[in-house]
Symmetry: C3
Subunit: 221 residues, 3 copies
């Protein structure tokens, strides 16, 4: 498939931003450096690992491809460089801090959601999966890493709490699958599908900021 290089690039972008979001969640959960690194790894590669297992492409690229590992390592370094600035902000303005990290995590998450939905569906198409499976593999690849991240630190995953989270991911995967069915899958289509997911997700985040819902802390009944 001629779209292979752009799939790799989009995948690496997604791994990088997801890994940074995982590292930030680790900082917010006051984990030590090793815990932050593991959480960055799980978040960056988790969705792709589930995708590859579901597609029978084992060992998964996330543990055998040096590019993927490099992206996670760079994200780890970026997070560690970010950490002291975050600590600075915390000292100056305790109220702002939590909201700022949470917002950064959410926007990075939106980028990863967009790229993984598209590359997940494209990889499923390339491996000859049925159309329905292509859409769902894209959706699961997109939400899997973030869900693992949240479960590991004891939080109810974003995908269960946020109104418009899984839907744009499935939509983006459906666009890619439809384009493949029309034999029109190309680099611009992949990028446009990713932008579509990102725009819908960010619109949902912005609306969220305007219509704040009460934090659901009492989830365990």
């Amino acid at each position: 498939m001629s779209a292979a290089p752009s799939i790799l690039v989009l995948d690496l972008v997604g791994i990088f931003v997801f890994a940074v979001s995982g590292g930030l969640v680790g900082i917010r959960a006051r984990l030590d450096l090793f815990g932050i690194a593991v959480l960055a790894w799980v978040t960056g590669l988790g969705g792709g690992l589930i995708r590859d297992v579901f597609l029978g492409d084992v060992p998964p690229a996330g543990i055998s491809d040096p590019w993927y590992l490099t992206a996670v390592l760079l994200a780890g370094v970026a997070t560690v460089l970010l950490a002291p600035r975050v600590a600075d902000l915390r000292r100056r303005n305790p109220d702002l801090r939590l909201g700022l990290i949470t917002r950064m995590i959410r926007y990075l998450d939106a980028v990863g959601l967009a790229t993984f939905a598209v590359t997940g569906a494209a990889k499923a198409v390339a491996l000859g999966a049925p159309p329905l499976a292509c859409v769902f593999v894209g959706g699961i690849a997109a939400v899997g890493g973030g869900a693992l991240r949240d479960v590991l630190v004891g939080q109810v995953p974003e995908v269960l709490r946020r109104e418009v989270y899984a839907v744009p991911a499935l939509l983006g995967a459906a666009v890619v699958t439809g384009a493949a069915w029309l034999d029109a899958l190309s680099m611009p289509v992949l990028v446009l599908a990713a932008v579509l997911v990102f725009v819908i997700r960010v619109a949902a985040i912005v609306l969220d900021l305007n219509v704040p819902t009460p934090r659901q802390t009492g989830v365990r009944p």
Copy 2:
């Protein structure tokens, strides 16, 4: 195998009731509509996804078979139609409500447990897995979706808290595996095995109601 159509029917029943139970857990955890839908999807298809990955039957039927998706969608609609009635009951009688939803979840769960234990073992037999693997694939398919459901909303899974939960599932899977070994696997055997699991599980629930144990809310030591 001549039992294939009845496997599909039992599987669809299990997916439907597990998905409804997932939706009800979502309502109880006060998730929004999208969260409820995702939780219904995970609960209905989770056990089957793990089963198919363990049997190497990828992409899993849960993401590639339109019947499976239809069962989950119908369950989602059923849950949404149930939701206002549940809200009504909540308003009229706050005490009753929680117990009622919890009891509904538990009985639906018992149906799903029974059908998934049987179809999981039967699918493993059909794909030529060793007998021990057939029993455990059935057991894991039966408890997997509910365990994922509970972990996602931050609860200790039923399978760890309930006295007789995994045991009847393993027993039902063993009956199916034994019948296949005797070359006696048929639709009536599958249905009888499922009824056996359901009866044992419901007996355990009823005994549970008679001998209530204190709720373990302080699980994290």
Copy 3:
């Protein structure tokens, strides 16, 4: 590969100690007998299940090999025999008790971490996985069972909270992978690599005892 029997022996040791650690976590979390058994099973076999799925070796040995099941059953019996003595200690000295179980869990965990890191990498080598994948499969096999155990009882996994946990596992897996690359993989190398992991991990535990960090109970921000 001539190292196959020692892989099986090391694997069985790892399954046994991980299963006992899972049972002890179940006791500490005040689960009933069935919950303790399930948690022992998940902890003992979880890492190996993930390993085999990632290597495409399905159905996983953990659900199809009678040796593996026997190791888990023996661990279950051992845990049940341990339970009353633990209850005795609890009665005599409430303060000591929690620390004692927690310490036992941690040392058993170190043994399982060491053996699984080594056998995971060795199995990946035997199945012809790329070197990078061998290292990570070993690391994931080592930390997977314990992570599942902790998530199921609602705790943040050790691998995120402990300073030196994943690192020695990856190191041991790297030693095995390197030895295989040099065509020098043998029983003594496997045992030495496991001892290396164990010594580093135990050193970290002992240092931990000397430099206690505050318990992170406020993980959900």
